[in-house]
């Protein structure tokens, strides 16, 4: 059996008066139920988009990420100013910051994680429902920041997985928004690998940790993700 794919038409704006009149007549016929056969197929195809369920779900998730209010320290103030009118985050879909971990998609660790607070953060993270993501905002939650001492956990990824690290002390609200956009692309399955992609530098990392270099399969997967992006 041969399957032939033909594209019948695409939804373009009419260029002149006759095309517009033709479009009007087609719409009238559709309403009356008079459109038949090839005309009907073309009409429908112009207005229907097909995709996989996974892509649709990811698109939905990415554009409505509800962060959890987890302000720890100074970065929290910049996070609040990202919520407010100038650097509005609700235009990207995060309309409401949910206080309950059961209702939130994502946690923004804004601020230094003290050793006394680390089990609390982990517990709150465990209470979140899948799928969930973590943004480590600022230098302190990414790597301990300027506080290399007994009281600060040197990076939140010592005790919980982190998806996006945002540098800065504190990062500007626009930085946080940029990181948020990267997370959105990650959720949609098109991870933005940044400069490694632009300069074709995947696989050139120097790994300070001995034999935990990425496997060739992982490198291939990364290259393929870059192509598909």
């Amino acid at each position: 059996m041969e399957i032939e794919r033909r594209s019948l038409g695409s939804l373009e704006q009419p260029k002149n008066a006759e095309e517009f009149r033709a479009k009007q007549l087609k719409a009238r016929d559709m309403l009356l139920g008079d459109l038949e056969g090839r005309d009907l197929e073309q009409y429908v195809e112009e207005r229907v988009m097909t995709t996989t369920l996974e892509r649709a779900l990811n698109w939905g998730r990415a554009n409505s990420l509800f962060p959890m209010t987890f302000g720890l320290a100074c970065c929290a103030i910049e996070m609040i100013s990202m919520v407010t009118a100038r650097y509005d985050i609700s235009r990207f879909g995060s309309e409401a910051f949910r206080a309950s971990p059961r209702q939130a998609d994502m946690i923004i660790l804004s601020g230094r994680v003290a050793t006394k607070m680390a089990p609390v953060v982990r517990r709150v993270y465990d209470q979140m429902l899948e799928p969930r993501w973590v943004i480590a905002m600022g230098a302190c939650s990414s790597s301990g920041g300027m506080f290399a001492n007994y009281a600060v956990v040197q990076g939140a990824d010592k005790f919980m997985p982190v998806d996006v690290h945002i540098p800065g002390c504190p990062p500007r609200a626009e930085s946080l928004l940029h990181g948020f956009n990267k997370l959105q692309r990650l959720v949609q399955g098109r991870p933005d690998l940044g400069w490694r992609q632009r300069y074709n530098a995947i696989g050139t990392e120097e790994w300070a940790r001995g034999e935990t270099k990425p496997t060739p399969e992982a490198l291939e997967r990364a290259a393929k993700a870059v192509e598909n992006a």
Partner: protein, 180 residues
């Protein structure tokens, strides 16, 4: 601030109340300081608070410092303020480290001033938390900023600062990847 002769008079008057309380006076950077014997701290503070001409009724700050390697090692500073004349005076209690040399766990002690100045409650807890200085008579002496079961007195000078070394090429180590 009380000037140098005034400071001497204050020291004498306090020594009349309880002999040997004020060990020394010092006057530097326009600030007066009385160095007192730890057991007489509450007497000195009470005298400064209640005497008519002095009335240092506000305790601005209570903090401790570690003077290692000098002895006596610890000092508890009481910053007093008289709001009417806007004058400050510092009372300093010097404490020896009872655990020095003999490896015991003994902690330096002095009486608490919470009845005189209720503001000292949190601040004495902080001094205990970070230096191990025990305030006798404090209603609830336990750690305030560190976790309750922490071992060690973080802000002593011989306590290591902690943290991790930053990895450069010359000291790269293999860190265990916890998620594998």
């Amino acid at each position: 601030m009380p000037d140098a002769p005034g400071l001497e008079l204050i020291a004498e008057s306090i020594n009349e109340v309880r002999d040997g309380t004020v060990v020394e006076t010092s006057f530097e950077h326009d600030r007066a300081a009385l160095i007192v014997d730890p057991e007489g701290v509450t007497d000195a503070l009470r005298w400064l608070r209640e005497t008519e001409g002095q009335s240092y009724t506000f305790l601005s700050s209570l903090h401790a410092a570690d003077y290692l390697p000098a002895t006596p090692r610890f000092a508890v500073h009481y910053e007093l303020l008289c709001r009417d004349r806007v004058e400050r005076i510092r009372v300093k209690a010097l404490l020896d480290d009872p655990a020095a040399g003999n490896g015991s766990d003994a902690l330096p002690e002095l009486p608490s001033c919470v009845e005189l100045f209720p503001t000292a409650e949190f601040q004495e807890r902080e001094a205990y938390d970070f230096f191990g200085i025990v305030f006798r008579g404090h209603p609830d002496l336990r750690r305030i900023l560190m976790p309750e079961d922490y071992v060690g007195w973080p802000q002593r000078r011989d306590f290591p600062i902690g943290g991790e070394p930053v990895l450069y090429t010359h000291n790269e180590v293999e860190a265990p990847r916890w998620f594998e």
